[in-house]
Symmetry: C2
Subunit: 385 residues, 2 copies
């Protein structure tokens, strides 16, 4: 089902977070020998990006989010880290900070070129033990590898590196980076992305690491909640699963109040735009991203989830720029601005669509710790439209 | 469409906020001669209720919400006021405070029986000028009349009082109280309610004043977003509108980025339970209520909306009580608690259902300022299932 009245809207060239000019994305993952986890890094080029955050899950794991409060001092962030490994995985940001500092990128705090403190906010999902070994979690080397992949990336290229770490570039989705060990309501989760180009040429894009305690599908029909919110043609190929598939997969058709057997989950992500925004406007954009999450996952923001979304603006140092009167204030004397309204609506919808893509691009995983089938393997009739 | 796997769940006796033991609800409205607005009051009996709030719209109008911060001193609230009249309508709380003080109900601040300060948080919706006169807005007399109606109420009884104010009791919905002048995405809005009884006998219920800038229906199908989340039988009588209705009502099939022509809207409400909760838990319950709002309204939480939800717990002074180990902490050593998880999921779903009922019980309004048709008058084929 598509949105007839949204027919004017189209995705960016890759339907990816990297459709926002100035953003690079890299992933580092490790599988086997007890591993099933990874790290994702988003790197704004130039002077960094304005950023905000909204933390709405009951069990978050974050780093440097207080710097994103509009009252606090950081004006730009130099990278965002999304990772597996629960709170241990926040260590991946150490490696990203090291790479940025070596490149002289960060908040300047002294006269020498290397006198910088990179601002690298991070959030994690719970995936401990899913590869079989509770202690196999991302450290600084994952952050460094993901950063290197981001800087070298030309698309969805992948490469096997040292220490069993595999990297992937900007347009990769599914079981990559922070989505490597992700599980969504018992099904395999992963990284999903979506973008849209608004009238006037502003790009909005989202990345979601789908690892939710709640379900992504309606317990009666097996239809993905978020599939109703695609752009024309985006999810038209999906069909309601047939009764045989529903009967076979009844354990995934869970009522919304069902408490997960595993302790913790979490969906995290980023919403970005090339429209110039203040920190506070970035936070508002992140905030409505949680509406997109709620439309794709039910229930969301539970005490089993640490749901966190970052908002990034690459303007005015890169990408599309419009006059200040066109977003914060109104261009026609009305307040609030119709353009900012359109941006917020698109931000929520991009996050919903990113979650759907994360679920659809996930691949079935089996480890010593468990078996997590992908949606399209579990409900094959859904993909035969 | 109903939820097969939620078949164990049923609504409370009236599918109303007043299904939560210890809560009384009253409405005061005025229509004609420039008026189309009103006030709703929720009054917890006994020692009041624990309360929290989550303000997520970009243009809120509130009163006493800072007292609900878990760090601040108020332990119980003595009433909640929801009202029309934009920020002017906060004056209705004055009348409620007066009635409560006269009854000796409030936070005790001195030795005499009347030495009390009632804690009466309030939130408003924008409906100024919809009756034709911008200056016709609720004052203290509306709060007092709604309070009196709540205390006298035995159900959906209505009564005409002084000054053209009409009152209604606990189970009234539609164009009553704060919903009198409500408009939802161009259609007539109103007050809606829903409740559910969880396993173990805990009741959760919601009231929504549906006055959103966003739309309550999918722009391609005309189907109410929230109708997929009903209890068995609740919305089964609804059908997708037929093509003729969609063609006739094309102006209500708006893309999500469409900015409203009128400046401001806002959806507000209350979610309540008889389970004993802390202030912080009440705030969390209110917070996930916004997920229910996001599922029923798209977009939600815009800069044109001041979306605000209060969370109330009438336990332990009234209603269902369970041991402390069963909610804040876990009953089986797991944390978080499965019971609190179920409560939060139900809270979000009740708010979605309340919005659908608010839309379905709305009645077409025509004033010198405009014409706002009800959903079922606009899409009559939706009601002929």
């Amino acid at each position: 089902m598509t949105e007839a009245s949204g027919g004017r809207l189209r995705p960016g060239p890759a339907n990816s977070l990297a459709d926002v000019a100035g953003l690079r994305v890299g992933h580092a993952s490790r599988r086997g020998a007890g591993w099933l986890t990874g790290t994702t890094v988003i790197v704004p080029q130039g002077e960094g990006a304005a950023a905000g955050v909204d933390v709405r899950g009951g069990g978050p794991g974050t780093r440097e989010t207080d710097q994103l409060d509009a009252r606090n001092s950081a004006e730009r962030v130099h990278a965002i880290v999304l990772g597996g490994g629960s709170a241990f995985g926040l260590a991946a940001a150490d490696g990203v900070m090291g790479r940025l500092a070596r490149a002289g990128r960060g908040k300047r705090v002294g006269p020498a070129p290397g006198n910088v403190v990179p601002i690298v906010p991070a959030a994690i999902v719970f995936d401990l033990g899913r590869g079989g070994d509770f202690c196999c979690r991302p450290g600084a080397e994952f952050g460094a590898a993901a950063y290197d992949a981001a800087m070298a990336s030309t698309g969805a290229d992948t490469a096997a590196g040292e220490d069993g770490i595999v990297t992937a570039g900007s347009n990769a989705t599914g079981a990559v980076g922070a989505g490597t060990g992700a599980v969504a309501g018992g099904l395999k989760g992963g990284v999903g992305m979506a973008s849209v180009v608004l009238e006037g040429g502003i790009t909005v894009a989202a990345m979601a690491v789908v690892n939710c305690a709640g379900s992504v599908l309606h317990p009666e029909t097996g239809v993905l909640y978020g599939a109703a919110f695609g752009l024309p043609g985006e999810f038209d190929w999906l069909a309601p699963p047939q009764p045989g598939d529903l009967a076979d997969a009844a354990r995934f058709l869970r009522p919304p109040g069902h408490a997960p057997a595993r302790a913790l989950n979490t969906t995290i992500g980023v919403i970005a735009t090339d429209l110039a925004l203040t920190k506070a406007q970035c936070a508002k954009m992140a905030s409505v991203g949680h509406d997109g999450l709620a439309r794709a996952v039910r229930p969301a923001h539970s005490m089993f989830d640490g749901d966190t979304i970052f908002g990034l603006s690459t303007g005015p140092t890169a990408g599309h720029q419009i006059s200040a009167g066109n977003h914060g204030a109104s261009d026609d004397g009305r307040s609030p601005s119709p353009i900012f309204h359109q941006l917020l609506a698109a931000a929520a919808d991009c996050f919903t669509r990113a979650i759907v893509h994360g679920v659809l691009s996930a691949t079935t995983a089996t480890t010593p710790a468990g078996h997590w089938p992908a949606y399209l393997d579990t409900f094959p009739s859904a993909g035969r439209h």
